[in-house]
C-alpha cells in the first residue's frame, strides 16, 4: 500500500495497491496547502477504507516547485513516515510528469514564478538534463522536443514511485528541490538623515 502526496501545485494525495489506484483527492487552491493537506490524506484513506497504519510506503513530490506549498507536503510526509515506520520516497516532480507521457523527446516545464520555468528534458523515458530554471523564451531552443507544461499531482507522483521502486530506482532523496538560493540582500547601513 503506497500513499503519494504532492503539494507542488495544488494539494493532492493518492493511494495505490501495487499499480492499482485505489483513491485520489485533489485540491487546486494554490494558497491552501496547509489547510488542505490533512483533508487530502484522510480522504484518500477513508475512500479506500484504509487506516494509516496499513501503509507500507509513502512517496512525496519534492519539487522543483514554488517553495511554500511544496514544503507542506514534504513536512507532512516526513511526519507520517516516522511514527508509521514506513519508507519515505522522494519524487522529482518533472520525472513524474514525464512518466505520464509517451513521447520520445520531452521538454517538461512547470511554473517557477519570477517569470521563469522549471524544466527537464527526457529522451525515451530517461532524463537527459535538468531539473533547472530556464527563461520561457529559451524553450524555442528545444524545437525537436514535445513541450509539456502541466502541473504534477499525487497520482502522477504515485504512479512514478510505484514503477521506480519496482525498477530499483533510487528515491531516497527526500529534501526539497529549490534550484534557487533564498537570495535576500545582505544588509548594509542605511542613512536616515541627509
Amino acid at each position: 500500500m503506497l500513499l503519494s502526496i504532492d503539494t507542488s501545485a495544488g494539494t493532492s494525495a493518492a493511494l495505490f495497491n501495487g499499480e492499482t489506484l485505489l483513491s485520489s483527492v485533489f485540491f487546486d487552491d494554490p494558497f491552501g496547502h496547509a489547510e488542505n493537506i490533512a483533508g487530502a490524506i484522510t480522504e484518500v484513506l477513508s475512500q479506500a477504507k484504509m487506516a494509516a497504519n496499513a501503509l507500507e510506503d509513502i512517496a512525496v513530490g519534492i519539487g522543483p516547485a514554488p517553495y511554500t506549498g511544496l514544503r507542506v507536503g514534504i513536512a507532512a510526509a516526513k511526519a507520517l513516515a516516522g511514527p508509521l515506520g514506513v519508507s519515505l520516497h522522494g519524487v522529482m516532480v518533472l520525472d513524474a510528469i514525464a512518466f505520464s507521457r509517451t513521447e520520445t523527446r520531452l521538454l517538461v516545464t512547470t511554473d517557477a514564478k519570477r517569470g521563469e520555468l522549471f524544466a527537464a528534458g527526457y529522451l525515451s523515458g530517461k532524463r537527459e538534463f535538468g531539473p533547472r530554471v530556464i527563461d520561457p523564451s529559451s524553450t524555442v531552443e528545444f524545437g525537436d522536443y514535445e513541450h509539456v507544461a502541466e502541473p504534477a499531482d499525487a497520482e502522477k507522483v504515485g504512479r512514478y514511485a510505484v514503477w521506480a521502486l519496482e525498477n530499483g530506482i533510487d528515491l531516497s532523496e527526500t529534501g526539497a528541490i529549490y534550484l534557487r538560493s533564498p537570495d535576500v540582500t545582505p544588509s548594509s547601513g542605511k542613512r536616515v538623515s541627509g
Binding site: 535576500v184 536616515v192 541627509g194
Partner: protein
C-alpha cells in the same frame, strides 16, 4: 499630485482616504527615508480597511499579512532587504486576493507591475511636516481621481 502633511495624525488620515480608492489586486509602492511615516500611513490604511491585528513595521519579517473586512488581505511588505523585484515572488503573496503595500519600494519595483500607485514621502526642514507625492501608473488607474485624497 502633491500634498503637504503636517502631523502624523494627518498621515494616518491620508492612509484611510487611500483605503477608499483601493481594491483587492492593487499595489501601492511607498518610498521615503527612515522615519518618514510609511508605517504611519499604512496604519491609517489598515484601520480603514478593518485590518486584523496591529500594523507594525514589516522589516523583521519582510512581509506581514492582515485579513481585512472585505474578505481579502492587506499585505505589508518591507522591500529594503530584497535585491530585486522578482524576489517578491519568494514571499508567496496572493496578489490578486490582496492589497499589497510595499515599503522601500525603490526604482526596481516600478517595472514589476503594470499597475501601481506610488506614494513618495519626503521629510522637510520641519521635523513634523512631510511632502507627499502621489502618482498612479497603469490602466487600472485611468480615470481615477487622486484629488479625492486631498
Amino acid at each position: 499630485m502633491q500634498l503637504t502633511i503636517n502631523t502624523s495624525e494627518a498621515m494616518e488620515e491620508l492612509g484611510s482616504k487611500l483605503a477608499e480608492l483601493l481594491e483587492l489586486g492593487d499595489l501601492v509602492l511607498l518610498s521615503g527615508e527612515l522615519g518618514a511615516g510609511k508605517t504611519t500611513l499604512t496604519r491609517g490604511l489598515g484601520e480603514a480597511l478593518g485590518a486584523e491585528g496591529t500594523i507594525q513595521s514589516p522589516t523583521f519579517v519582510l512581509a506581514r499579512e492582515h485579513r481585512i473586512a472585505s474578505g481579502g488581505k492587506l499585505v505589508h511588505v518591507d522591500a529594503y532587504r530584497l535585491a530585486s523585484a522578482v524576489e517578491l515572488d519568494d514571499l508567496d503573496i496572493d496578489f490578486a486576493g490582496s492589497i499589497v503595500v510595499v515599503e522601500w519600494a525603490r526604482d526596481f519595483l516600478a517595472g514589476y507591475a503594470e499597475n501601481y500607485l506610488s506614494v513618495e514621502i519626503d521629510r522637510t526642514s520641519d521635523d513634523e511636516v512631510r511632502e507627499v507625492l502621489l502618482s498612479a501608473v497603469g490602466p487600472r488607474w485611468e480615470g481615477v481621481d487622486l484629488a479625492a485624497l486631498n
